[in-house]
């Protein structure tokens, strides 16, 4: 492919997603900003939230693969070579990270509606892992 640079990729993704392109870009940016924001606000990662988010992430990874196979009318047996496995792993990771981030932010939002503004400012109660 000629001129395969950032611009071509952006143009192609724009055509692929149509009107969804910019909302999705904004969603991804908001997700990342929100995630970082929650961690900064809480001065660490809540272990309980993190474990649940990870579990959701595992499911999200498989959902991503299922979605891709469905959209492209294909099945697992169509995997033909190493690059196909790489693509599968990338799709799984994308689905997993996306779902985990959304889950973590969601749990944090749930927690803060349950707590008073004062409690929110307090450092994490559960063993805060900064590791």
């Amino acid at each position: 492919m000629k001129d395969l640079d950032v611009f071509v990729l952006v143009a192609v993704f724009q055509e692929m997603l149509g009107w969804l392109f910019w909302p999705l870009v904004i969603l991804v940016v908001l997700g990342l900003v929100g995630f970082v924001g929650v961690i900064v606000r809480d001065r660490g990662i809540y272990a309980r939230r993190f474990v649940i988010a990870e579990l959701v992430g595992v499911a999200g990874g498989f959902f991503g693969i299922w979605l891709m196979l469905t959209i492209t009318s294909s099945q697992l047996s169509d995997i033909g070579g190493p690059i196909d496995w790489v693509l599968m792993v990338v799709i799984w990771l994308a689905g997993a990270i996306g779902a985990a981030v959304v889950a973590y932010i969601g749990l944090a939002a749930l927690d803060s509606t349950r707590r008073s503004p004062v409690a929110q400012r307090a450092p994490p109660l559960e063993a805060a892992s900064r590791a």
Binding site: F7, A11, V12, Q14, E15, M16, S77, I83
Partner: protein, 438 residues
């Protein structure tokens, strides 16, 4: 060989995020200074090549009077026909309106070019209107010559086991209905290709593989015989690909007959007649994918523009230099897309490589410069080998494989990733190409 546009776009990157945003929003890329001109440019045909050329020209020229001429209100994303005829997409997947793709500032005349007059530097439209030009880009695509097969008519598509993927979106959908019926009932499935130049030479092969796959999925492969009637002694113009297809056909149990060119069809008796070196031969079928001979549209054939001798003369292909796409006799005329009289080519992928080269030469002419842009014959074909797998075959004039992702996506390997590209990335890339952005 980076085109001017590519170089300046890379230069653009340093100017950062705002430039990225501007380009992504579809604003004209102003990084290279636009050439000011009053030139009148006529583009005959608003298909893949005509629209891509119009977009690139309006990006690079300031003040040019660009006119597209095409009577067809619907634009077809033709590579999607194979997916429609494979039962994977609805006909509408391939249809959009021509008007929706016209770049800002470009005029569309919704008529056909009836006459080309390169001496007088003008074209005449179907209503008799004369349009003068300083530069002409011929992008009329090609004519599907169904009448050249005795007894064949597009009205037959979708009945009596007759399919034809090429004829258009609705015909592709009708072809799927016939193929699906065949996949249930079994019998003889007959495939093949015309003898002369054709667009997307991989399409006849893909459809054979798709038919095989549907039969297998329905547990009916044992009840069917698949025959591929090749026009000569190969299966594909690029020898290394031809050999790979031979192996795959053997693996799938597709019977190959060589040197068979379809000359007639008898829909009532379900018999196709072929010209072979040993004389004519009839083959009965329960399903047939008819692919007609392809030639230049009459307006081009009857003009002074086609080759006058050599292999491209008989069917009226445009007499252009294979590296610059410039007409060899009329220097202010270019030919891009299927109409170009160059070896291979005739895919949307080659359009993507041809258009920037022709446009670069045209703009350089206006600017009083000399362009060094050159087209190497790049053509690509995601050769579907079953639903869910394809081979990303890319090659040039010299039959070299020129993979876009060497070492990552193997060209002669049946891969899911290549199928995924065909399924979800090809149409967006095509649409971005129409906007001059890919």
């Amino acid at each position: 060989m980076p085109s001017i546009a590519a170089v300046s776009r890379r230069g653009l990157m340093v100017s950062g995020i705002s430039a990225l945003g501007a380009a992504a929003f579809g604003l004209p890329r102003q990084a290279f200074s636009q050439v000011k001109t009053k030139a009148r440019i006529v583009i005959a045909g608003a298909g893949a090549a005509g629209l891509a050329a119009a977009a690139r020209l309006s990006d690079r020229l300031d003040g040019a009077q660009i006119t597209l001429i095409d009577a067809r209100k619907e634009h077809y994303y033709q590579p999607g026909f194979t997916l429609v005829a494979g039962g994977l997409k609805p006909a509408g997947y391939t249809i959009s309106s021509t008007a929706s793709h016209i770049p800002r500032g470009v005029t569309l005349i919704e008529e056909t070019v009836a006459e080309f007059d390169p001496e007088g530097r003008k074209v005449k439209t179907s209503s008799g209107r004369s349009v003068e030009y300083d530069f002409l880009i011929v992008a009329t695509g090609l004519h599907l010559d169904y009448a050249a097969i005795a007894g064949m008519d597009t009205s037959l598509i979708g009945s009596n086991g007759i399919g034809s993927v090429y004829a258009g979106p609705e015909f592709a959908a009708a072809t799927w209905r016939e193929l699906s019926r065949f996949a249930d009932a079994g019998g003889v499935g007959l495939f093949g290709r015309p003898a002369i130049e054709m667009k997307c030479a991989g399409a006849p092969l893909k459809y054979t593989f798709i038919a095989d796959d549907h039969l297998r999925r329905r547990g009916n492969r044992g009840r069917a015989e698949l025959i591929y009637a090749a026009n000569n002694n190969t299966l594909f113009g690029v020898p290394i690909v031809s050999e790979k297809v031979r192996m795959l056909f053997q693996d799938r149990g597709v019977k190959v007959v060589h040197d068979h060119v379809m000359t007639a069809i008898d829909p009532a008796r379900r018999i196709a007649t072929f010209r072979t070196p040993q004389g004519t031969r009839d083959i009965g079928y329960d399903f047939v994918n008819v692919i007609p001979p392809m030639r230049a549209p009459d307006a081009v054939r009857n003009s002074p523009l086609p080759w006058r001798d050599g292999p491209f003369a008989a069917d009226g292909w445009l007499d252009v230099d294979r590296h610059t796409l410039r007409h060899r006799r009329y220097r202010n005329v270019f030919g891009v897309g299927d109409i170009a009289g160059v070896p291979k080519g005739k895919t949307a992928a080659s359009v993507k490589w041809q258009v920037p080269v022709a446009v670069d030469h045209l703009v350089a002419d206006i600017d009083g410069k000399v362009s060094t842009a050159s087209y190497n014959g790049y053509t690509s074909c995601p050769l579907i080998t079953r639903i869910g797998r394809a081979m990303l075959v890319e090659f040039d004039y010299d039959n070299n494989l020129v993979p876009s992702f060497p070492g990552v996506i193997a060209p002669l390997e049946e891969l899911w990733v290549s199928w995924v590209m065909k399924e979800i990335a090809l149409k967006p890339t095509y649409l971005a190409m129409l906007r001059g952005q890919a």
